[in-house]
């Protein structure tokens, strides 16, 4: 079995190269890259100051173009350029953001905790609710509770998370209906953004630094928790919705399938208490398909969601990735993609490891 996992890890390398090479190539040939942007800037500058300079329309100095080409390896064949990028990556250098003028590594590290916070909260909550709900639904199969919960779940399932997010914002974030939650963000960025009840706990002067700027860290412990929760409810709800239906129905079906198995009859025939039969014998078997999903969720948990982060204006990895694609910020796009790919590949292997750990019948060859 060790040999199997060693092989799986070795296979990560070519898969990773394949994924990133394709992305790199696409990125390079999509219009709107750094050269186009340089030209556009020049054209805009010319339009503004057109009268004074006059003449050559939208021209930029040849040297500047050459320098940019060189900086982005655009003067080389795409594969050669890719190898440069890969070489940097191996040495731990993700490059520098064209937009932020900062190392990509730094940008990513700053945003990781934010994405993990939302991802992990949503993920844990989804399991905490789906597993018991699935069990109850299986035990009450065919009742009206089962029917109505299924209907609700599937309505939720058929609407994408970011669409639910938009709806929630309209209804609960100060639109025309209720003003219960903030419009977005990870935490409040000024005293007046804080929920009113938290404002009443804090003196504005206490949470400002010497320059009169709001410092979240100076809030009291309870205020921090309240403010964080207040910002968390809506986005986490959207994160959950995605996996919620799948998990619940998987749990229910898995449990029902196992309840009909012969070993359950054996357990009852031994005289075991039904609680022990269901919650030990049946549940342990039913959790196998769910547990294997844990590894696959790794990339979602850690790398955030492009669209949900965008809707809620959460400055996490997802939003960074999305905005960088729009900006054609090559280094950042490739950096975020590399991390995502790595997490997905490792997550898949992790799933297999988990599978082998919980199901004694599984032996990988």
């Amino acid at each position: 079995m060790t040999a199997y996992f060693v092989r799986r890890f070795l296979l990560v390398v070519p898969t990773f190269i394949g994924v990133t090479l394709i992305a790199y190539t696409i990125m390079r040939y999509v219009p709107g890259g750094p050269l186009d942007q340089l030209k556009m800037q020049a054209r805009a500058a010319q339009a503004e100051g057109g009268a004074s300079i006059g003449g050559e329309a939208g021209a930029i100095p040849e040297e500047a173009l050459e320098a940019a080409k060189k900086a982005f390896h655009l003067d080389k064949h795409v594969v050669v350029a890719y190898v440069y990028w890969l070489g940097d990556l191996v040495t731990g250098n993700l490059g520098e953001s064209y937009f932020f003028q900062e190392p990509v590594g730094k940008l990513v590290v700053e945003r990781f905790p934010i994405s993990i916070f939302f991802g992990l909260t949503g993920f844990v909550l989804a399991y905490l609710i789906s597993v018991p709900l699935g069990i109850v639904k299986a035990l009450k199969h065919g009742t009206s509770f089962d029917f109505f919960s299924s209907a609700t779940i599937f309505i939720g399932y058929s609407i994408p998370g970011w669409a639910i997010g938009t709806l929630l914002l309209v209804f609960f974030a100060g639109g025309e209906f209720y003003d219960w939650f903030p419009l977005g963000g990870f935490r409040s960025t000024s005293y007046f953004e804080l929920p009113e009840f938290v404002q009443s706990w804090e003196d504005p002067a206490d949470v400002e630094d010497d320059f009169g700027r709001f410092r979240w860290n100076r809030l009291g412990y309870l205020s921090k928790v309240a403010d964080q929760l207040w910002h968390t409810v809506l986005p986490v709800f959207c994160y959950m919705m995605g996996s919620f239906a799948t998990l619940t129905i998987l749990m229910k079906n898995s449990l029902m399938e196992n309840i009909g198995q012969d070993y359950v009859r054996t357990a009852f025939a031994k005289g075991l208490h039904p609680r022990r039969v269901i919650f030990l014998h049946v549940l342990r078997n039913s959790l196998i398909p769910l547990a294997t999903g844990l590894g696959r969720a790794l990339s979602i948990v850690m790398a955030g969601s492009y669209l949900i982060e965008l809707v809620f204006n959460i400055d996490g990895l997802g939003m960074l990735g999305f905005n960088s694609i729009v900006r054609r910020d090559y280094a950042v796009v490739m950096g975020v993609l590399a991390i995502n790919t790595m997490l997905t590949l490792v997550g898949n292997i992790l799933s297999d490891v988990l599978y082998a750990l919980i199901d004694p019948r599984i032996r990988f060859q």
Binding site: Y263, R265, K270, N285
Partner: protein, 348 residues
């Protein structure tokens, strides 16, 4: 083979003076299939005496497994329902019988595994795949007896050794898939017998095994049987019945058709169905090319059982009244019971 097997075996006749350990009385079990109630077992009665091996024979769909499972109320409800009857269990011959069907659930649990234990047809699926064999046998001890884990483990190991699992102590930590089919059935037997139940109900215990393993498992069951312990062996294999059973209950269409000692039944079958079953066995020394006898027709679906005698659609000695009037279970002078109009006079 069946004939000679009966010949060689000294049939133990039950001590009929002792009270039966288990008496099934007028058991009726129904299933709801697509909004219709179908009777799978239509008023079955039989006794299990201490120390005997009682065979219940019948084709698929005759209701034999359902009868056995009902004795421990293991019928899935819904769709099943035990609609009537009694299952009377006596702890000892002078004890008051208790009706298993009326027991409160917690007392029923004390009977299950402790007084009446069961093993099933499919050893491959009857054990939980994700728990070790040791845990599953140990669990059976712990649920009925106040012993600690170490003691339960010791008992499990001892039991596995007794059922012939080599290196039992080490194998406690193995999972079911690491055992062969025959070994798994041994584990099942160990699990069933670890609390020394009075009755072992074995529902086709050898059907899924290959022939040599079958013989070993049957031999093991016989070895493990204590003096006052009874075995109810459910099977469709007449050779198994001839070799292993003291008395036999023949079932067809959810009813008992004939009851007698294995010896009587094989030498002098009375019911046309029993005769048909025996005639359809290949005899040792039969000429090559000779056709086997077969009971004409198929087992009727339990949704379309005939009104009269359940066997009338296939009986070779059928009379007009068989189609409309179901015969009672006639008790003959020698204690045999036959559900057939042909024996009406003999019974009187």
């Amino acid at each position: 083979m069946t004939e000679s097997a009966v010949e060689d075996q000294t049939t133990r006749l039950p001590d009929q003076s002792a009270s039966p350990t288990l008496s099934v009385r007028d058991l009726v079990v129904r299933f709801e299939i697509e909004k219709n109630w179908v009777t799978a077992v239509g008023g079955v009665s039989f006794d299990v005496f201490p120390g005997e091996v009682l065979g219940i024979v019948g084709e698929s769909g005759s209701g034999k497994s359902v009868t056995a499972m009902s004795a421990l109320r293991l019928i899935p409800q819904p769709p099943g329902e035990i609609a009537g009857g009694q299952v009377l269990y006596r702890e000892s011959s002078d004890a008051e019988p208790i009706d298993v069907l009326q027991l409160p659930y917690d007392e029923l649990r004390r009977v299950r595994g402790n007084e009446i234990a069961m093993i099933f047809q499919e050893p491959m699926t009857a054990l939980n795949p994700v728990f070790t064999v040791g845990m599953q046998v140990r669990e059976a001890v712990l649920v009925h007896e106040k012993v600690d884990r170490a003691e339960a483990n010791r008992r499990a190991a001892e039991m596995l050794t007794r059922v012939g699992i080599p290196d039992a102590e080490k194998r406690l930590s193995d999972y079911p898939h690491q055992f062969s089919g025959g070994m798994r059935q041994r584990v099942m037997i160990a699990m069933a017998l670890v609390c020394q139940p009075k009755i072992l109900v074995a529902d086709e215990p050898t059907t899924a095994l290959d022939v040599t393993t079958q013989a070993q498992i049957l031999e093991l069951m016989a070895e493990m049987q204590g003096r006052d312990e009874s075995i109810v062996l459910i099977t469709h294999d007449l050779a198994v019945v001839a070799e292993r059973c003291d008395r036999v209950v023949v079932m067809y269409g959810g009813k008992v058709q004939e009851v007698g000692t294995a010896r009587d039944l094989f030498h002098h079958p009375k019911h046309p169905y029993t005769k048909g079953l025996l005639a359809s066995l290949p005899a040792v020394g039969a000429k090559k090319g000779e056709r086997l006898h077969a009971i004409p027709g198929n087992v009727p679906s339990i949704t379309q059982l005939p009104v009269g005698c359940k066997f009338c659609t296939r009986c070779e000695e059928v009379m007009d009244r068989c189609h409309t009037e179901e015969p009672p279970l006639h008790v003959l002078d020698d204690g045999r019971e036959v559900r057939c109009h042909l024996f009406e006079d003999e019974a009187k």
